[in-house]
């Protein structure tokens, strides 16, 4: 049963995830970025749990637990440890000023709404708005990957993008659990790989600033 309140609350939690996406773009300190990411994952877990409650889909509780344990705890802790271990410069270096990134972010939200609403004209109302939110989170994650120079923040952008995917998955009815588990584990594997890459990149260039790698591109 979908009462107005449960519907509104689902949107509110979804919007919290989106706001955390904006907060990620706004942060200037690496640790603050990690904390914000952790908060986003927490909101995502809440969104999944709430969807499990209103859709009567117990397997979504499992998704919520995965989001809570892996994305809100393990991944931020691991990145935190990496940053300390590698002694990375802790300010976020941006390719574009923060103000402009935020403006582009709002434009992306508008874009995803314009895109999702006509496409899903025949779906249930709950799905439509949640899909618009999830799509915005995905686009903001991409924006973060594009506009940050440091490898760690790019990884956080990737993880935020993945948060958006999970948000879309939990709000669509009947998404099988297998898909979600495999996504969650692939993220964990990606996280491990990124960790190894961090070490390799730094060994080679003494920095995680990806501009140094650009000079190795062949087509210049």
């Amino acid at each position: 049963m979908l009462t107005a309140l449960s519907y509104d609350l689902a949107h509110l939690i979804g919007a919290t995830v989106l706001m955390a996406g904006f907060a990620l773009l706004y942060q200037r300190r690496l640790f603050a970025v990690l904390n914000t990411f952790s908060f986003q994952a927490l909101a995502l877990a809440a969104a999944a749990a709430w969807q499990a409650h209103i859709q009567h889909a117990p397997h979504l509780y499992f998704t919520a637990a995965i989001a809570l344990v892996f994305k809100a705890m393990i991944v931020p802790f691991a990145l935190h440890w990496l940053v300390e271990r590698l002694g990375i410069h802790r300010t976020v270096e941006t390719a574009l000023s923060i103000g402009w990134t935020m403006i582009i972010g709002v434009a992306l939200v508008a874009l995803s709404i314009l895109l999702v609403l006509p496409v899903t004209a025949h779906s249930a109302a709950l799905t439509r708005e949640s899909l618009a939110l999830a799509m915005s989170v995905v686009l903001l994650g991409m924006l973060m990957m594009i506009t940050r120079r440091n490898a760690v923040t790019q990884v956080v952008g990737f993880m935020a993008l993945e948060n958006g995917l999970i948000l879309a998955a939990v709000s669509a009815k009947g998404m099988p659990l297998v898909v979600e588990i495999s996504v969650a584990f692939s993220v964990l594997v990606a996280m491990t790989l990124f960790g190894i890459f961090f070490f390799r990149i730094r060994e080679r260039f003494d920095s995680l600033d990806l501009n140094y790698i650009e000079t190795f591109r062949g087509d210049r």
């Binding site: 609350l9 949107h11 919007a15 706001m19 904006f22 403006i103 709404i113 609403l117 109302a125």
Partner: protein, 321 residues
């Protein structure tokens, strides 16, 4: 009991005019006292601002030779605009005489008048600090005002009116659920309120450090009764923003037209409770956070503007759905 129909509105209006002025120093004093407590100091009593204002009114006002009439007139204009704005916002009842005149856009304009005069006064004497303060104040204003208007637009899109009293009636009528847009507008409103009142992280109200001050820099030349007026205006403005947040986003308990004295009493109690909660939250927030660099104001207030914009965008989503 057979009064004129305008009797109650005028009575409550007069009460509100008095209340707005009477509670403002206490709110400021309470925030200062609670902050001092949180910092591990004993702090002056919450009633200290009353004594300060009294002391200032007793003192002679020193005026620079280069000051023009603008300098002398500004404190009164600033105070009058803040006080009038505070009278327009429904606090404990919406049944007040000026409620039909109270409009969110008019409110923004009234506050802009006060700010304009303060900036003029800052530049009038010709000291460097006044100029720097005025320039910073205008920077903040140019970003905070559009954000405030954006919040107004999203609220009036929800409720179909820009009058606070009718927004209250709309919300209390149970026409509004938990909306994403309203949450976003609330966040934006809090950011604007922090910036407009010169609280941490935008400006530190307790400092006289040259590099960071905004509000203090403009009023540095004032003394005596002029300073009392300006300080009182700042206090009224803080209470005004709290009342505005309480009125627009948490109007529960407020008396509606037609409510008897008991309803008004309940409204008064809930209003004071809301003020207390907001003041406590402000003190906690200010203790937990550090001041921001001047160059980051644009990001902070731009964030508020974008939140307001998002609130409006999401309204169209929920309407399309």
């Amino acid at each position: 009991m057979n009064h004129h129909p305008l009797f109650a509105p005028i009575l409550w209006q007069v009460l509100q005019i008095v209340l707005a002025l009477a509670t403002a120093p206490l709110v400021t004093g309470y925030v200062r006292w609670f902050k001092a407590r949180l910092n591990g100091r004993r702090g002056p009593s919450p009633f200290q601002p009353y004594r300060d204002l009294y002391r200032l009114t007793q003192k002679e006002a020193v005026i620079a030779h280069s000051a023009s009439w603008i300098f002398r007139a500004a404190p009164y204009v600033v105070f009058a605009s803040a006080w009038l704005a505070a009278c327009l916002i429904p606090t404990f009842t919406t049944n007040i005489f000026l409620a039909p005149a109270a409009d969110m856009i008019a409110l923004v304009a009234l506050l802009a008048v006060g700010r304009f005069w303060l900036a003029l006064a800052g530049m009038d004497v010709g000291t460097a600090f006044g100029g720097i303060g005025a320039s910073r104040e205008m920077l903040i204003a140019s970003l905070a005002e559009p954000a405030m208007l954006m919040i107004t637009f999203s609220l009036s899109l929800v409720s179909g009116t820009t009058q606070p009293a009718q927004i209250v009636a709309f919300v209390l009528g149970g026409n509004v659920g938990v909306e994403v847009s309203i949450g976003l507008a609330l966040a934006a409103m809090i950011m604007v309120a922090i910036a407009e009142n010169g609280r941490v992280p935008i400006d530190n109200p307790a400092t006289h450090l040259e590099l960071t001050m905004v509000h203090e820099a403009m009023v540095l030349e004032y003394s005596g009764r002029h300073l009392a007026m300006i300080e009182a205006a700042a206090m009224v403005k803080l209470t005004l923003y709290m009342a505005l947040i309480a009125c627009l986003f948490a109007p529960w308990g407020m008396a509606q037209p037609g409510a008897g004295p008991e309803g008004v009493l309940v409204g008064m109690g809930s209003f004071l409770g809301k003020l207390w909660m907001l003041a406590t939250a402000l003190a906690l927030f200010e203790t937990a956070i550090a001041k921001m660099r001047v160059f980051r104001y644009a990001d902070f207030l731009g964030g508020a503007l974008l939140l307001g914009l998002l609130a409006t965008i999401f309204l169209y989503v929920s309407e399309a759905v």
